[in-house]
Symmetry: C2
Subunit: 329 residues, 2 copies
Amino acid sequence: MIQKKASLDVKALARDVRSGSRAALARAITLVESRRGDHQAAARELVQLLLPDTGKAVRVGITGSPGVGKSTTIDALGTYLIAQGHRIAVLAVDPSSARSGGSILGDKTRMAQLAASDHAYIRPSPSSGTLGGVAAKTREAMLLCEAAGFDVVLVETVGIGQSETAVCDMTDFFLALMLPGGGDELQGIKKGLVELADMIAINKADGDNLKRANMTAADYRGALHILAPRSEHWHPPVETYSALTGTGIAKLWQKILDHRKAMSASGDFAARRREQQVKWMWSMLEQRMLSRLRTEASVRARVKKIEAEVADGRVTPALAAEHIMELLQ
Amino acid sequence: MIQKKASLDVKALARDVRSGSRAALARAITLVESRRGDHQAAARELVQLLLPDTGKAVRVGITGSPGVGKSTTIDALGTYLIAQGHRIAVLAVDPSSARSGGSILGDKTRMAQLAASDHAYIRPSPSSGTLGGVAAKTREAMLLCEAAGFDVVLVETVGIGQSETAVCDMTDFFLALMLPGGGDELQGIKKGLVELADMIAINKADGDNLKRANMTAADYRGALHILAPRSEHWHPPVETYSALTGTGIAKLWQKILDHRKAMSASGDFAARRREQQVKWMWSMLEQRMLSRLRTEASVRARVKKIEAEVADGRVTPALAAEHIMELLQ
């Protein structure tokens, strides 16, 4: 009976999400983020029910170091897009938020215009444990937002390697925000980022910074020129803009649309989405398997010990893997 | 009885490998590469027995596109090192060798000087299936070579993203070989490679190519300058050399030693080795778990079907992972 009731609730919740109810969307994301076994089963059912209503949004990942102006950029870009008739969902992947006690999106006042709009939905990063877990929950939250009718999803991430890869793996376009540099002290592009970015955008191209921003853009263009592009159908552009004045925001969006058009025409767009889904499945399977090793305290202690022996060079990885396999049986 | 006999053989084989017997080393690597269950168990025991005799070699990964001169470079570098009193093992990671019917190292005539030396041991890539499998076997072959007294291990790889990561994950120093470019048609550095390379070396800096090689090096230096280095203790240099004339070979080796010194002093060297070992353990565990999904034909067919449904967007990755978990129980 309880099973049946839960199942009915999920159907009602799916209907409410589909109708665009913000309260239902919030409840659905909370369900997805819950660690309770019955909640997780209900969440899987919910996302599966809504799956036909997903996939239509433009999914944009946005990264940048602290101070680059991620929040003001998202605020400006989101506000511009709402004026164009879009509905914007803003999500975040920040695995450190559990430790630091605050998410990068925790403070909605940092996106004052968007937070006040009925056409925007802002959700802070889930604050549970591992990057894999946080990313999985954000991916499902993205699907729920799409089912609720949000047609642009912006996923913010902190400028840390693995989080960036995770966000790139769930979006269609990965945007790296940078600041104007100054002469010799040009800030470095993190190497991993160069591989991921579909566009580099230099913020704060306004007032006294304008010239420096243009020089920085030229430097980055020179560097990117030497690197082979990820796709033969898209050479990542380097643009300048100002989140403060709004200059260049429309151009950033146009580049995102250009990319979508080029990738759709070549078939790369559909291929990237397919690959992302399959990769996601395998990573969830891996997490489920590894979570077995972490849930039982006695097993976990043994695994820690084996891991230390491998690190110290006392046991070969092959033998250690064998021991851990035995623990699982 | 059979069990005991096999166990005794492994001890004898370990002793023979330790004594530096080339025949024993070849037999040991063949054991590691075997897919038979009893061979794999014996191989695990063998590598564990020899583990205290491993870890002392300088481990260098070498990558480059076809035509860049990998074999002649390894031949020249190896011959130089033998003259310095070293013993050189050359291994390869080439997961395509099973399909193409030939390994990149299959033809020893491509390294004529090294192949003729008693102080070098050349072993082609294992030709079994997945990259993960090939890499695992090459890692263990590397340990066996170290136990047999080879104090420099060169691991060649084809210029393909995932193989390069695998080789970088098993070596101390990752060397990317490039050719001199010409003006506008400067060849691109693959982005993933920039993240991995500890040094970029431009081959064929001889005769008419010398000027072009120096210009290419300057261009790459400019590009690398903009990218943040992986370690604060090592900024990947860009060098020129000629495998044909031998010019610059000594300098390449000196840079490898400089790197080792800097990384050892900072503690990064030990940390990298520890991380590699732990990562290797988890990747072996993952392979063992996933191999369960591939061994039974009926399970494999179901997994393929589920994977296709996920790719087509008909089933969520979470639900698919759940189904696969059920297949495993």
